[in-house]
């Protein structure tokens, strides 16, 4: 079994969601595909496996795939939302709550890619980077507007 399938199943279980044949179909279609694809694209691909698959299911499953970290919004400026594959989580950046100090590690392929573009653009040989995002977490934002800085 592909690693992505394993991760998907694990994610579903962790959320108390069920592994259904429709979800397997959408995942399979997604894994077969490349590049940025819209829900419509994915529906077309999935229908080749199961012609009876419903449109709504694709939208729903795509959201799950994104939540599970297998797909991510490609963030197009125009047209329908498009998703792309996320294969690796190689790097961690930090998200810090200025209210309670909570630290979240995250990683974002788009940022990594963009950073490499910068290095190239300025003719630099990369050696490292540090990215800190600061803001109020949902809890702190709910309580008040107080911050640490």
């Amino acid at each position: 079994m592909k690693e992505e399938q394993y991760l998907f199943i694990r994610y579903l279980k962790s959320k108390g969601l069920k592994l259904t044949s429709a979800r397997e179909t959408v995942l399979t279609a997604f894994l077969k595909s490349e590049g940025h694809l819209s829900a419509e694209d994915l529906l077309a691909a999935a229908k080749k496996i199961d012609p009876g698959l419903g449109q709504a299911t694709v939208f729903r499953t795509l959201k799950i795939l994104a939540d599970a970290g297998l797909a991510q919004d490609a963030c197009q400026d125009e047209g329908p939302r498009r998703y792309e594959h996320v294969y690796k989580h190689s790097h961690h950046d930090h998200l810090i709550c200025v209210g309670c100090g909570k630290l979240i590690e995250f990683c974002h392929p788009e940022i990594e890619k963009a950073q490499n573009e910068i290095f190239r653009e300025f003719g630099f040989q990369a050696s490292g980077h540090r990215l800190e995002l600061r803001g109020l977490c949902a809890d702190c934002a709910g309580k008040s507007g107080k911050t640490r800085e």
Copy 2:
């Protein structure tokens, strides 16, 4: 007159578009506002100036503002499209040479967009960020492999 207004007028003329009171109203409302705002937000703000303003005009003018380089898509994952100020609001990040200490200021919309995704993903209310890229500049990389850290 604000510099933004001048730029807007200049852009309109360069494209053979007319400076109308409706467009002035939308621009004024946009310049007064802060943060990421949707067409709906902007319509509400603009209606305080001119209650008769039409919704379609806001969409149309927002597109012009983006083309003119005064606004840009804030690239939200969910909900309506949101725009943010660009002119005089540009964000600078830093690229530092670990060899000679040279400091380059750069700005990369993709990174900004991705950061906003992170904030949203974790339910944070953004307050700021710091990004430092470190590497060897072309000059230093040519001389030797020596670094400062």
